[in-house]
Amino acid sequence: MKNKSTQYKAFRQVFFRECIRLVSKPIYMFGIIVAPLFCYVFFTTLMSAGMPSNFPVGFVDMDHSKAARTLARNLDSFQETKIIAHYPTAADATQAMQSGRIYGFYYIPHNTSVNVYGQRQPRLSFYTNNSILVAGSLLFKDFKLMSELASAYATREVLYGHGITEKQSLPLLQPITVDPHPIGNPWINYSIYLNNTMVPGILMILIFMMTVYVIGVEIKDRTARDWLHLGNNSIWISLYAKLLPQTILFTIMGILYNVYLYGYLHFPCNSSIMSMLFATFCFVLACQSMGVVMIGTLPTLRFGLSFATLWGVVSFSISGFTYPVMAMHPSLQALSNLFPLRHYFLIYVDQALNGYPMLYSWRSYLALLLFMMLPFFIAHRLKSALIFYKYIP
């Protein structure tokens, strides 16, 4: 009984010691509150348009006909396209692309309209700068549609001449059409697509670093023994009591982004918000455990932090929310499981985006749980590092 109360006391002492430490230096508040808040605001305002529109494009008209001008006007009226300049030759347009003024251009060769009437099948062409992939592929879509329409426009004139009505002409021009149904994100909103993972990702990288920092700085300042001593010489009491204040703060930051994304910005959340909050909580714990593993394996502050930085930044690429994991090399597909963000991403897709029951994401929850258990394997090593390790600058 007495043993239990001393343990409780030790826990409380370490907890309050840590709380005081957290407010003693500005770096803590920067890493826990300021940096995540900045990124929440940054990413959501950067992509507030949802989908970039009005990409500047060029138009090269060698035909100088009414039909060409109509085509230019129609192209300009598309949401993604904005014709900012007419160039005399394709070479000029290419140079404008190289200078970054335009993302693509549409080319109408000499005598196009004459050739249409003469049934000599002229050829239009369009060029997109796919080095800027998003702009390139969105423009490609518009340009292609415009070219199809140009062809249909010519055919339609013939059909009208045969006495076919406008409504009747559509099935004749386009017997089969494809109706896309993007599930969960029908607006194809890039902000929803990216920020649902980007924002937790930023939180993750900061959790990694702050967890490593609070433990590593004790080793560096040679206060680790005091800390352990206060924690009744138990690594578990010391560790949990030390990390609890951060768990609370980071969970609050996690709740905050959930409220911000799903409540304020109205991103689709087809599951209950509670399941996303639960996932966020698991994610915070998994990241903290990962942080403990990082400092446990490399008990020097700078190596631990380098580990956290590099692992954290790679998470964004390997978690597969931009470039899918299934298209990566098999070894990387296996490696991606070692990143908590990957599992959080899969849970988000199942829960908030698609609204599946939680059962279908059991693998990802299990993975997060396994992350939480990792400190058990490293605690012994960490304890000896805390006692014996000497910081070498």
Binding site: P175, D179, T322
Partner: protein, 427 residues
């Protein structure tokens, strides 16, 4: 005569100090493990890892479920053709929607292609004037799945439309005429500078440039943090007779970083794109002329912000997470024309914004200096501004360091005097 001799001596002394500081900084870069990681290991290894992640460039064979409610020749032809496209793979033919959705829930497939029961009727019965609709349902986990499915199905539908239209024309004319009547105007599309629309060709050049800047900021920050920590008065500038001129310190350090990074950037910007067969259309003189202001701007930027670092490791917490926003601000992953004005102005603070834009165009689009003059001028301007700020910062640091020394001296002296006074009274 004496004056000119003095001046010559001062200049000589200045150069000696510059090289002394250069030597010390070079040594530090290789012996300090923290700095070594960021100056050497990360630029060496990180580009390889990143390129390896994206090396497949495109997504192929996205697994989808086909839901054929029409069960006709035409519907089977449509599905067969979709299956034959490189981007989509039909893994199962399902009988109802619930079944197909279940396979999506179990992560076996990423989409459903549904052909309604009136598909063939609408095509065959020309007098009904009805379009046949094919619906695709797509998991929006990745934009790539959507793009693959939509473009494959659209391409197949266009191809089949052409055949259907020719058939409807009724074989009354020659093949060529039929082709012309269905497609009076042909078109060609050219995806310039990234013909496969590959992800690596698009993202990696930007990441490479960012790695150079971020490792410089982290490495210089780390080294500044060490200087502060090992200093007796927690100042950035050490108490050393070689460290008493602003320009000597700035030039000496810059020379060391510049030499290391000239080599590093050759590896990162020339070798890596060739190893992974990414675009490498850069003209050598253009690239070299462009790299010089970029590296200088990054070095001075890093030295100017390194004054914020009060302890060795803080710089990582301060700057590392910022890499991702910087990448997005640069206008590559999120197109520049879509960036709000406020963030665009903020992005002008960082050398990476201009560096990435310039390098992507030099490397991917084979642009010359004339075509990237805005970025080129901006980098030189940044070099000037950050050089000035760095000098001011170091000047201020030298003065505080001196002040601390003098204060300390005075303190010691007064202590000494009081002690003497005590001793004299005792006597």
């Amino acid at each position: 005569m004496e004056d000119s001799q003095k001046f010559g001596k001062r200049v000589f002394g200045g150069f000696r100090d510059v090289f002394y500081i250069w030597k010390r900084e070079m040594k530090k870069s290789f012996y300090d493990q923290g700095v070594f990681i960021f100056f050497i290991l990360v630029p060496l290894g990180y580009p390889l890892l990143y390129s390896f992640i994206y090396t497949n460039e495109v997504v192929r064979e996205v697994p989808v479920v086909a839901l054929d409610e029409s069960h006709t020749l035409l519907s089977r032809e449509f599905l067969r053709k979709v299956d034959a496209t490189p981007d989509v793979k039909i893994i199962a033919y399902s009988n109802d929607m619930a079944d197909a959705r279940q396979s999506m829930r179990e992560h076996k497939s990423y989409g459903i292609i549904r052909i309604p029961s009136d598909f063939s009727d609408n095509i065959n019965n020309i007098n009904a004037f009805q379009q046949a609709h094919v619906s695709i349902y797509c998991d929006m986990e990745s934009m790539f799945y959507y793009k693959c499915m939509y473009s494959s199905c659209t391409d197949v539908s266009l191809e089949m439309n052409k055949a259907i239209k020719i058939q409807r024309a009724g074989n009354t004319t020659t093949n060529r005429e039929e082709e012309i009547s269905t497609y009076p105007i042909e078109y060609t599309n050219v995806a310039l500078f990234n013909p496969t629309s590959g992800f690596a060709s698009f993202l990696i050049p930007a990441v490479l440039m960012l790695i150079l800047q971020q490792t410089l900021v982290l490495g210089i920050g780390l080294s500044a943090g060490t200087a502060v920590e090992t200093n007796r008065f927690r100042d950035l500038v050490p108490i050393n007779r070689h460290y008493h001129g602003t320009l000597r310190i700035v030039f000496g350090k810059t020379l060391a970083y510049f030499m290391i990074y000239l080599v590093a950037s050759m590896w990162v910007l020339l070798a890596v794109p060739r190893i992974f067969n990414l675009n490498h259309l850069a003209q050598a003189p253009t690239l070299i002329l462009f790299i010089i202001p970029y590296l200088l701007a990054c070095i001075f930027f890093a030295m100017a912000v390194s004054v914020l670092v009060r302890s060795r490791e803080n710089c990582m917490i301060l700057f590392a997470f910022f890499s991702i926003p910087m990448l997005f601000m640069s206008g590559i992953s999120w197109p520049g024309s879509g960036i709000p004005t406020f963030w665009r102005i903020i992005s002008y603070i960082f050398p990476s914004t201009f560096g990435i834009n310039g390098f992507v165009r030099i490397n991917n689009l084979s642009a010359n200096l004339f075509e990237i003059q805005w970025e080129y001028h901006a980098l030189w301007l940044q070099t000037g501004i950050y050089f000035f700020i760095t000098c001011v910062v170091y000047r201020w640091q030298i003065l505080t360091s001196r002040k601390h020394v003098i204060e300390h001296y005075k303190e010691m002296k007064s202590q000494h005097q009081t002690q003497q006074a005590i001793e004299s009274t005792q006597i």
